[in-house]
Symmetry: C2
């Protein structure tokens, strides 16, 4: 795999042992059984530290590995020939990235880091080994894939059928909700590494109109967003504007 455009890609640095994986501390994630943990330890070949802006998976390329996000934000996207960009969704800690490339031929989308990102590296050619030896983990991979599809489905509804204001409100609510589950929210405040251009490209809107819509949202005082800090002031009001709150995931979420 190449890390073009990433001045700071540091493969083979210190690899955090899985026992101390930051993800294992998260209450929203399920625990590994001892033998699973043992297997995953051997499965993790490397750790990657990326700078913001680094594209670590590229549309059209073949990837030899798949990743789990250990920390930081990233986003999946596709671009058309003339440069139009569509952000498909955002990847946060505990999200798996690159499964499509691992299962199929080549990547059909790219992934870029928004913040400094730490990735757990899993070798693509051993994925089948995981399926053979640990069906429970294989099931978890499927769980993760199914959940991601669910998120995209909801996103599709937004872009297809929601008004501009609803779209913005829903996406912000969605991201806040996910970050909150991961313990990234303190006092209703969240470090938010997204620009309005990202928002626009995710929502299928122009930058200008995104900005004006966001302004309309801000005067409702349901949220505050200054600099890189996002603050939830009135979740109920925001959910109202979004046309409904986020559906809860009941089952215990796996990670690998």
């Amino acid at each position: 795999m190449s890390l073009m455009g990433n001045p700071n890609g540091k493969p083979n640095g210190q690899v955090t042992p899985c026992e101390q994986c930051p993800l294992r501390r998260l209450p929203c994630l399920r625990e590994f059984a001892p033998d699973e943990l043992e297997f995953v330890k051997r499965f993790k070949t490397d750790e990657l530290h990326l700078d913001p802006g680094a594209t670590f998976l590229r549309e059209g390329s073949r990837s030899d590995q798949l990743f789990t996000v250990l920390s930081g934000w990233a986003f999946r996207y596709k671009v058309l020939d003339d440069g139009r960009r569509q952000i498909l969704n955002f990847a946060l800690p505990a999200d798996m990235v690159g499964l499509q490339g691992a299962v199929m031929d080549e990547m059909e989308h790219s992934v870029e880091a928004l913040t400094p990102v730490v990735l757990c590296v899993l070798p693509r050619n051993r994925l089948y080994e995981l399926y053979s030896q640990f069906p429970s983990l294989a099931f978890d991979v499927t769980w993760l894939a199914a959940r991601e599809e669910q998120l995209i489905d909801e996103h599709l509804v937004s872009i297809g059928r929601r008004t501009a204001l609803e779209r913005v409100a829903y996406l912000l609510l969605h991201l806040y909700h996910r970050a909150s589950e991961l313990g990234m929210v303190k006092d209703g405040k969240l470090q938010f590494p997204i620009t309005q251009q990202h928002l626009a490209d995710a929502l299928g809107m122009s930058l200008v109109h995104t900005n004006k819509t966001l302004k309309r949202l801000l005067v409702t005082k349901s949220i505050r967003w200054q600099g890189r800090t996002f603050e939830m002031l009135d979740r109920g009001a925001l959910a109202e504007l979004a046309g409904g709150d986020i559906p809860q995931t009941r089952s215990r979420r796996p990670f690998i």
Copy 2:
């Protein structure tokens, strides 16, 4: 599972033995190994025959089974409180439906038959058994999930970033392409069970504008669409209007 609104749901009819499964005749699908076939035979508990319009998976409900489409067309969709509908994608033969519901808690979308549909019924509570005993089949399930996500990704790009004309052209090209792989096209002609309302709901456009855009497309003479028959006249021209042809799937596609 309930089959509300389906006057003709015929469970427990004659179940086609897997050896004679119509899908196995398709050259685009991979073969089962003998022991896989043996297992799948025991895994298939039933066969469901549905009428057009039957909703066989419903948003918000728990489903005890997942399905493989053996024949016919269906579509996945979500509706907002006020009735706005978004079609997420279309399901054709060899597509798996309901995996989200089988892996997670409850369905986040509904699925409705467009034509008479025959479904292969697989019990949800035995999915883990499949994962334990046949990692190769488990891998196939993941493959199918990954591919579906890929299709939705592309759809998301359409809705978010393509013009109305490009959207219509791309979706028609996409459906034609898939139907073609499945041997449903003869002489460039295809039985097309979709109304303009379906197109509109899939593309996130109004019915009126979909109609007018379709008219613009028809005068290019790249396609013909009369009654229930769709005919491809100039695929190159259509691909041009769509802003690119469909990316080919290289790896041999599995089905279960």
